[in-house]
């Protein structure tokens, strides 16, 4: 008779060696980060004001991640698929709106009515991105709904390339610089006015989004579809329409994020969607994908960590050019979150292992 291999019974949980190794690696990483932070803080190169500035920059960048992440998270929540092309949706709005901004600038309208111009740009960008998002859904995703998960993921990658190089073909590969908006130049206390504008923009968009989802019939339909598509259909919800609406809303927000991005970073080009896209996805995962407040929090947290992390974690070790490693930090966070807390910071545990 075979004797069962020795094991430890831990009551509800089983730990095997592979997991042990993973936890050890995680622990080592954490220790490195903590030690580095302590070393940096003890060295005291940075003033409190500078730490504050890091946070401010991080929030400005993170707010944009957050807006893009909302699109990812909504689509994931409703369709359980990663819309890999979402970064390009963001890019399409920003790229196209450049021409509107340029026109407004040349005609002097921008100077005369900066606020109207800004709103026009936001709306225009939102509409362009929305159109792109909806088209992508119709052409690349809808016919494949229900296929194995790999399939829409690949079409998403395809759509991402297609959009990037379409815009490159249409508008060229050069970098375009948005005109400066006079009222947003300069500082207000410690903040750049553009940073404030971005932050306010994100807050308003978020508020509108929450109102939309909580208070409207379409929002209710989206929430229902996200929870149980079939049951929603049985309530008379047009599932296809709810999904398109999701893409449209996510796209619109990405478009707004595009203009806000341009306010802060000025330059736009066809490739600009790629990195923010992946970062925003990271943010969505960080906050718990499918979870709206999570995406917002995740974006801000990621922005701040990216901004503050290299200095805080690595300065103490005297690592050269630590800011080159900020994306390493971002991706490491992504991987760690997926390993240790796949439901994200705010996500609820959906019952550990798959129920049979």
């Amino acid at each position: 008779m075979t004797i069962a291999a020795p094991h430890r019974f831990t009551g509800g949980r089983r730990i095997d060696i592979s997991q042990l190794i993973v936890w050890t690696i995680g622990g080592i990483l954490l220790a490195i980060v903590l030690l580095g932070s302590i070393l940096t803080l003890r060295a005291g190169h940075y003033t409190a004001a500078q730490w504050r500035d890091f946070v401010v920059f991080g929030i400005a960048q993170g707010a944009i991640y957050a807006l893009i992440a909302l699109g990812y998270t909504m689509v994931y929540g409703v369709l359980r698929m990663i819309n890999f092309a979402h970064g390009e949706v963001f890019m399409s709005g920003a790229m196209t709106t450049f021409f509107l901004a340029d026109y407004l600038n040349r005609s002097g309208f921008l100077k005369a009515h900066p606020w109207i111009s800004l709103v026009a740009m936001l709306l225009f960008s939102g509409l362009v991105s929305m159109t792109v998002a909806v088209l992508v859904e119709r052409i690349a995703y809808r016919p494949l709904r229900g296929a194995p998960r790999l399939v829409p993921l690949i079409t998403a990658v395809g759509a991402s390339f297609f959009l990037q190089y379409t815009f490159r073909g249409l508008f060229g590969s050069g970098v375009r610089a948005y005109p400066a908006i006079p009222v947003l130049q300069g500082k207000l206390w410690v903040f750049q006015k553009t940073q404030i504008a971005v932050f306010v923009g994100v807050l308003i968009t978020l508020a509108l989004l929450v109102l939309f989802l909580q208070r409207t019939r379409a929002g209710l339909a989206i929430r229902a579809v996200a929870e149980d598509r079939e049951a929603a259909a049985l309530m008379g919800v047009d599932v296809d329409r709810a999904i398109v609406t999701t893409f449209a809303v996510g796209g619109f927000m990405a478009g707004i994020a595009g203009v806000l991005y341009a306010l802060v970073f000025v330059q736009v080009q066809f490739f600009m969607g790629f990195l923010p896209g992946i970062k925003a996805f990271t943010a969505a995962v960080l906050g718990g994908i499918g979870n709206l407040p999570g995406a917002a929090v995740g974006g801000l947290v990621l922005g701040v960590i990216e901004s503050i992390g290299p200095s805080l974690f690595f300065d103490g070790y005297g690592i050269r050019a630590a800011h080159q490693l900020k994306d390493v930090i971002a991706f490491t966070i992504l991987v760690l979150i997926l390993i240790f807390r796949p439901t994200g910071l705010l996500g609820e545990r959906l019952g550990g292992e798959e129920r049979v």
């Binding site: 494949l144 399939v151 690949i154 759509a159 297609f162 379409t166 390493v328 991987v335």
Partner: protein
């Protein structure tokens, strides 16, 4: 009924028209207006436009049973698309859009109207060509079963031959070249001969296949390919490539080989074990960088080992990397696995790029002066010589793939792919099965990377971007996941062809995106599907189309 048919024709016509606008405005049409394929008249752009119109006509007519309906509705679509193209020509001529749209030039208008310009003459030309394209497409589809296909295939073959003039010209005997080719594309006579020859060939193939269908319809590889004699012959031809192909083609063949190796490696992970790894480039990078660090005198410890000593070390290192990536992602599935591996791939690239590790890995500048292999006094230096090494590696990887597939381990991978839970209940250790897939799959990538580094002589971080991973996935997707011949076909089509058609480079990734989407929509199982996978994917996609959408959401049945 008529209303419905008209709506359909108009819709398809408009869609084709929009596609035409897209191709024009992204620059594909104007860029190749001078690229002659056949004679002096048929340029690449014209071929593209005609194909677009014909496709519109075909797509419209397809639904109807006979020529009587196919042709007129098809023509309606084609004419509508022609009108759309003319509209664009008008817009481009009369509005100055160049400030915004790079390619909205008067030149575009000329190309779009087949040289007629945005005037009455142009309109007449366009409509005429639309009419002909519609007639042609309708007529073709109305022909009995094989003929339409044969003609289209032969025509495409001819165009391809014209396109490849610069590559093929120098390879063929002088007499043939000067007969076939004119100053730019095929000569008229050459085109005619090519077309006829291709038509004969395709007819033959079709009739052969018709016979074979009853025998072995499901095999991915034609039965003839299974004969040892044929296999040996094939190998001979493959091995002789450097003798006739020349520097350029050998170089291309080497790069195709690198992707075949990676494809075979990822196939173990994704095709066999069903684990989507979007960071496969990490292994390619680890292999390449290990080779670089061990053989180059520039970085780190300046080992300057011999290639043959460095190669196994590189492979072992990659296997370790495979384990390192595999361990943490053991419990992940689907999207999460894909994204986590993508993260790993990027982390590797960012680390080799960093100033921090520059003394050891060369930083953004990479590492040059990487060692080349030599056997006794023979130094393997040129792409031709390297080709043999690459070929051998590919054959070895293929061989290994087959042997693993037919083994107990291979079966446990399939089991994991099909149903991880049940696989465990069948006594399969999930950890070992997955880790072995990651490790062995990684080793192929490492081998590929090591060879790549040695051939090119330098490695730089930018060569290891996400694009490589996506390329490899696309190779598998195009060829058919789990299918070994599919990997070869995929690599040839996605790596080889673009290298040969270098002028199209700027549009390569655009076309790439279109190919990925189109494949998934129309042929999700790939060009040479493995028997099992084909069923799975087509079934699922079919179901997705047939059943009401809500059905699929929950996967209930």
């Amino acid at each position: 009924m008529i209303v419905h048919a008209a709506r359909r024709a108009i819709f398809i016509g408009l869609v084709a028209g929009i596609a035409g606008w897209h191709l024009s405005l992204v620059g594909l049409i104007p860029a190749f207006a001078q690229r002659r394929l056949v004679g002096d008249a048929l340029t690449f752009s014209y071929a593209l436009l005609v194909a677009l119109l014909a496709l519109a006509a075909y797509a419209t007519g397809r639904r109807y049973p006979g020529a009587v309906q196919r042709i007129p509705w098809g023509i309606l679509s084609a004419l509508l698309s022609s009108l759309m193209l003319f509209l664009l020509a008008l817009l481009v001529t009369h509005l100055n859009l160049r400030q915004i749209l790079l390619n909205a030039t008067p030149e575009l208008a000329r190309v779009l109207t087949f040289g007629g310009g945005a005037s009455g003459a142009g309109l007449v030309r366009l409509l005429l060509i639309g009419l002909l394209a519609g007639l042609f497409a309708g007529g073709l589809s109305a022909l009995p079963r094989p003929w339409g296909r044969v003609i289209v295939s032969a025509a495409l073959m001819t165009l391809l031959l014209g396109l490849l003039r610069d590559v093929l010209g120098p390879l063929l005997p002088q007499v043939v070249t000067s007969f076939l080719y004119g100053t730019a594309g095929l000569s008229l006579a050459g085109a005619l001969v090519t077309f006829l020859l291709a038509a004969v060939l395709f007819t033959l193939r079709w009739s052969l296949r018709a016979k074979a269908v009853t025998a072995r319809a499901t095999a991915a590889v034609p039965a003839t390919l299974r004969q040892p004699v044929t296999q040996a012959l094939l190998l001979l031809i493959l091995a002789s490539v450097p003798l006739w192909a020349g520097l350029f083609l050998s170089n291309v063949a080497d790069f195709v080989g690198f992707y075949i190796l990676m494809g075979l490696g990822l196939n173990l992970v994704l095709g066999f074990a069903g684990l989507l790894d979007l960071g496969y480039v990490a292994f390619f990078a680890v292999g390449a960088y290990t080779m670089a660090v061990l053989t180059s005198p520039e970085v780190g410890q300046r080992f300057t080992l011999d290639f043959w000593i460095a190669l196994p070390i590189a492979i072992v290192t990659t296997v370790l990397a495979g384990l390192l990536v595999g361990l943490p992602v053991l419990r992940m599935r689907g999207d999460y696995l894909a994204i986590a591996t993508l993260g790993f791939g990027e982390i590797v690239r960012l680390l080799v790029l960093s100033d921090w590790l520059k003394p050891y890995l060369g930083g953004a500048q990479g590492v040059t002066r990487i060692g080349r292999p030599s056997i006794a006094s023979w130094r393997i230096d040129s792409p031709q010589e390297f080709y043999l090494l690459v070929l051998l590696s590919c054959l070895f990887a293929w061989f290994l793939s087959v042997r693993l597939r037919d083994s107990r381990l291979g079966r446990s991978w399939f089991a994991i792919r099909e149903d991880e839970h049940v696989a465990q209940a069948m006594g399969i250790n999930r950890v070992t099965a997955k880790l072995s897939a990651f490790a062995i799959g990684a080793s192929f990538g490492g081998l590929s990377g090591a060879l790549f580094a040695s051939l090119v002589g330098s490695v730089v971080p930018a060569s290891f971007s996400l694009l490589v991973s996506i390329n490899v996935v696309a190779v598998l997707v195009l060829g058919g996941m789990g299918s070994l011949p599919g990997v070869v076909v995929g690599a040839l089509a996605l790596v080889g062809l673009p290298e040969l058609l270098r002028e199209f480079q700027e549009y390569r990734l655009l076309v790439y995106g279109i190919v990925l989407i189109a494949m998934m929509l129309f042929r999700p199982a790939g060009l040479l599907p493995e028997r099992i996978h084909r069923r799975e994917l087509e079934e699922a996609v079919e179901e997705a189309r047939e059943i009401a959408p809500a059905e699929i959401a929950t996967g209930r049945g």
